[in-house]
Amino acid sequence: MILEPEKHSPRNPGHLAQWLLPWAAQLVPIPLRADWQQEWRGELWHLDHEHGNRMPHSARALSLAYGLLADAFWLRSNYVIQISRGSAGSCLATLAFCCLLSIVVSWVYSGSAHAFSGLIAAHFIGGYIFVAIPAIFTAIATNPLRPLRCDRNQPRSEKLLSTRARWNLFLTAKILLTLILVFFGAIAAAAPLRIFIGRSADWFELVLWAFAVTAGLRWALLNQERRCQRCLRILNQPTRIGPPSRNFLDWNGTELACADGHGLLHVPEMQGSWCWYDRWVELDSTLQTIW
């Protein structure tokens, strides 16, 4: 339907919402923008053509202008949340934020910059290295051995780094941030205890490091196994496939899918000579349209 173009002034409360519409539309994600504008044209039409009895016209116009902005902002924020949920970026950002928080807490407890740097040097060289290295070996040794899922035969990515390079870079960054978080997190956790029992709190710190490094690295490795090989997003929609009673005849287990339709991860219910490990199945672009 073609509507007559009208001149709208921001100074007139009645026209404010119409004037705001194209500006607020810039906030709305592109895939939703046309529908959103169409819907709001329909809503704003009522402003001049229907007279409700609850509010005066100018108050209603201002309320609608506010609603317009709130709606556009909600759509944008929801879109950002949907895009970043389970992504590699949000995982690293969360870890980095936790690292920063634990650094700030341990700094505050140490009192001064000089005391803080002394504490870090003494605890890192005097304790963390000796505990962390065996714990790293323990974490790797207890992680089930499987071939690296991201192989060299991956299709070439259009991005600057190859898929394999991004996979390895993400794993390295995640492990490093986990180790930093465990180091400062344990110092921050032991700091209040140090006020009461002095240097004896170091024993608590050592035990905490040993457990947290093992658990943290195991999490980092398992988390990597549950990610899409192409976009590094966490896989979801777990679906059970096949009856276990037919294990010798057919495959059974759980399938996880990438939300963007890049592929499926088959996790066997029972390991067999034909399926020792989780198997990643890449989907080609024709199948991605069903997602």
Partner: protein, 103 residues
């Protein structure tokens, strides 16, 4: 959305939808809620599959010489949530009048 998360505002909007009010402006008018609450709430309800939306038939809008509207309807889960809301806030029925004319 579980009944525990059902806020008073959402309950009012669900009640309005269950009475046949179908689009944002109409819901805003009948409930008295500000538009900054109604529109994002409708989006949230749609995201949570309590509400579905559809465009009005263009011929109908043309006949009335106005732009097409987007109508919001309760899904099966939404009807359940509306029933829970009415149980939880019994005065809602008195707050929102029945819709007389179908849009």
């Amino acid at each position: 959305m579980t009944s525990a998360k059902l806020s008073h505002t959402v309950a009012i909007i669900l009640k309005a939808l269950s009475l046949g009010y179908q689009f944002g402006f109409e819901i805003m008018e009948v409930t008295g809620l500000p538009s900054g609450t109604v529109y994002p709430a409708l989006r949230r309800l749609e995201r949570d599959d309590l509400v579905s939306s559809k465009w009005e038939a263009e011929e109908h809008a043309l006949k009335e010489q106005r732009p097409v509207r987007r109508y919001y309807l309760l899904t099966r889960a939404g009807k359940g949530a509306a029933a829970t809301a009415i149980q939880r806030y019994p005065l809602l029925s008195r707050l929102i009048p029945e819709k007389l004319v179908k849009t």
